[in-house]
Symmetry: none
Subunit: 138 residues, 4 copies
């Protein structure tokens, strides 16, 4: 379910966050689904409970999951899609940097568009979080 690369430069807790976000986004984890407990996951990925806990806390802070005390951690009912202008600006900046880096790796704007289409296909087939945007498409 979750695959961690301990040798990766990106922190383990970041990897956990990212992968859960992706699972939710793809719809493989649906609203209300229970996540593995901190201890379970920490043994599964051979990480420290603290590290897992940190990831869960951040996911909760972002509104992706919520914890019901004594019962466990669950995918949040309302994956809040707050229109966050500040965050959007940040993401745009990151996107620009990414594209420039991509260019120096031999990729141009067309390729990036294609990549995004690929990601959309890979990810958007399920009726996950993505389905919410279908209103917009109609």
């Amino acid at each position: 379910m979750i695959q961690i690369d301990p040798r990766s430069p990106t922190p383990i807790y970041e990897q956990i966050i990212q992968q859960f976000k992706e699972l939710c986004f793809k719809g493989l984890l649906k609203e209300g689904d229970k996540l593995p407990s901190v201890r379970e996951l920490s043994t599964m990925v051979i990480a420290n409970p603290n590290t897992v806990s940190k990831a869960y806390k951040e996911l909760e802070r972002q509104g992706i999951i919520e914890t019901l005390r004594g019962r466990g951690t669950f995918v949040s009912e309302k994956a809040k899609k707050t229109l966050d202008e500040g965050k959007m600006e940040m993401i745009k900046e990151q996107l620009k940097s990414l594209i420039i880096d991509a260019f120096y790796a031999g990729v141009d704007f067309q390729d990036v568009h294609h990549w995004i289409d690929e990601i959309e296909e890979e990810v958007g087939g399920e009726d996950g979080a993505r389905s919410k945007k279908s209103d917009k498409d109609n």
Copy 2:
């Protein structure tokens, strides 16, 4: 020319790298142009010379610039665009994460495409590095 935000979470040396890359990409810095010396830039942006040096070293490693001993640092003649498969995969992964984050900020795939077009206009109007790719577009 270079604007540093000491409060930003991205390291200062990364900011320098990024901004020089952007300048080259936009064509505001052309092949053979001289960069400020480490000492000059470090006083200009109020940073530690070590920090600037680190940025220059990384830019040189990436083939964006080259240092001619005793003469200074210059934008590299041929911005080597090694088709680096590994790097492309990495960038693709980053792009996926970015898109997922964007989604949770209330943005969909269509919007991302538009953003990229915006970036292309902002950046691609000049006959900078990008122009080299135009062969591919045709």
Copy 3:
């Protein structure tokens, strides 16, 4: 009567305590009134009986309610108002923290005074526990 939010960061047993205190304070629960049994309340609010029991025990310890074995749990005859210096100091400390937090949320002392007046109106209209203090006001 009692509303529990399982998502709230404040423990469920605390929420129960708080809400019963508020009901008594407002006079909606009067001296001698019978409280729901632990089992009743636990099914009503979908909580573990242990949790409800814990709340009742604490309320009893504070002298707000008393249990008559075999008969049930009742609002205590004399809501003992022990002048507890230690507790008062604690509350004062909490109040200070609260005000500082309020400030950073854009609220000043005057506003806090107004809030208290609002709470007084909301809560003090009934002839509940508060009425006992009216001697002091005169």
Copy 4:
């Protein structure tokens, strides 16, 4: 400067947060002032660096302080006083609970008003963060 009670039920990191907030609020720590380093403070209060770090992170998240990487931690230039409606509601709820608790400790609304005045005198003498509200008073 900072006094920690390891026996207190409130977590050490909370105590640190609270005390720094109070210092800033009183104006004993002014904008731009340097806070002790994580290591310094952790030895000063006989706590683990992690615990101190956690406190600093939270203070930063709240916009009270900011860290300049490699240089240290400083009182934020702009103690952001975002009018946060949600937070204000939360604080109001806490205030209500506090007042009810206070009542059962033998305190009435008048007393609470007096307490607040006391806190205002204790805290508002300096030209600290509080001074910003003086515009409102005029």
